[in-house]
């Protein structure tokens, strides 16, 4: 297991990243801030990306999406 996967950001799936940054951390709403409200919209993008031909090709060749964070 690697000591710090953040350094290996590219090996972490976008899903894992979104899982952390979209709904967690300091979450503020109100007049003073602009923030992501429509999280479903972002996940719809992930779904579309995963169903795209390019992504399927990347999956087949074992790159990018689906690579676990502790390999190697």
């Amino acid at each position: 297991m690697h000591d710090n996967v953040i350094d290996r950001n590219k090996d972490i799936t976008i899903l894992e990243v979104l899982d952390r940054v979209l709904n967690k951390g300091v979450i503020l709403t109100g007049d003073v801030v602009i923030s992501v409200a429509d999280v479903d919209l972002v996940y719809l993008g992930v779904k579309l990306m995963l169903s795209s031909v390019e992504t399927m090709e990347r999956l087949k060749s074992g790159q990018a999406i689906g690579v676990d964070g502790v390999k190697g």
Binding site: M1, I6, R20, G25, V26, V32, V36, L41, K47, G66
Partner: protein, 264 residues
């Protein structure tokens, strides 16, 4: 266009030096009372409410910026304790950020005390139901008993029992997923200070053939991280042939363990 919106990455309660590898990212450390906030000035063309919403429908834009968000916080986290902000939190002006710090000082301090000296680790467990099905007689007493009955029965009875076994296997696989998920959760929980469960993500989001059965985050004391990793390696090796695939990632900024409560 002038960059006058303030994109916030994280807060620290100790001075934030900007490391060499972050200098090119136009980051600034702003001090408010006892806190240091890592920000970047961004343009309305990208981050005004309407433009930001439009950009959220562009998954490539989201990916680039979400990865940058976590990467910046991750690099800062290497040398100080940080409270991360949700991706895309943007203040219109410094006054708003100052008001936030003033209003939430007590809560921020409590959060720093909770996360200091600890790391967030994420564990996702998937079940390959086909592999699990192949092992079912070894893992389920009920399935093994029924198999023995089938072997000892006449062809007609064996056929009926075989159909019964199909239903039983489905139920037993569901039970095993629940039991193994709980086992992994309990094991990691025993090495953690806090836990956080997230929704299980369906296959169309994971892009995987197997089924997610656990999606959890653990807040682990730095002095227990080696034990945590050892437990991960042990469980992964022990159960890999049963159809359970465990993945762990970390250390993450403590996104899952931040609870900011507004001052009453």
């Amino acid at each position: 266009m002038e960059n006058d919106l303030i994109y916030v990455y994280c807060i620290s309660d100790s001075a934030l030096g900007i490391a060499r590898n972050l200098k090119s990212k136009d980051l600034k450390s702003l001090k408010f009372d006892d806190f240091y906030v890592m920000v970047k000035y961004v343009s309305e063309s990208e981050f005004s409410e309407d433009n930001f919403k439009r950009n959220l429908s562009d998954i490539q834009w989201v990916e680039t910026n979400a990865r940058e968000h976590i990467s910046v916080i991750g690099m800062i986290m290497e040398y100080t304790t940080v409270i991360p902000f949700k991706f895309g939190t943007i203040f219109n002006a410094k006054a708003g950020l100052q008001k936030f710090i003033t209003d939430y000082t007590v809560s921020l301090t409590e959060n720093f005390n909770h996360i200091r000296g600890k790391e967030e680790w994420a564990v996702k467990v998937y079940c390959d139901r086909k592999a699990l099905c192949d092992q079912i007689d070894q893992l389920s007493e009920k399935a093994a008993d029924l198999e023995k009955q089938i072997m000892a029965s006449s062809p007609g009875k064996a056929f009926l029992l075989g159909r019964k076994k199909i239903d039983l296997i489905d139920n037993e696989m569901d039970r095993l997923c629940k039991d193994f998920g709980q086992k992994y959760f309990d094991e990691f929980k025993s090495l953690s200070e806090s836990t956080s469960l997230s929704n299980l993500l369906p296959k169309e989001y994971t892009g995987r053939e197997d089924t997610m059965i656990l999606n959890a985050a653990f807040l682990v004391s730095k002095d227990k991280v080696l034990d945590f990793k050892w437990a991960f390696d042990t469980l992964r090796n022990k159960d890999e042939n049963s159809g359970f695939i465990i993945e762990a990632t970390g250390p993450w900024p403590p996104f899952s363990f931040i609870s900011i409560k507004e001052k009453q």
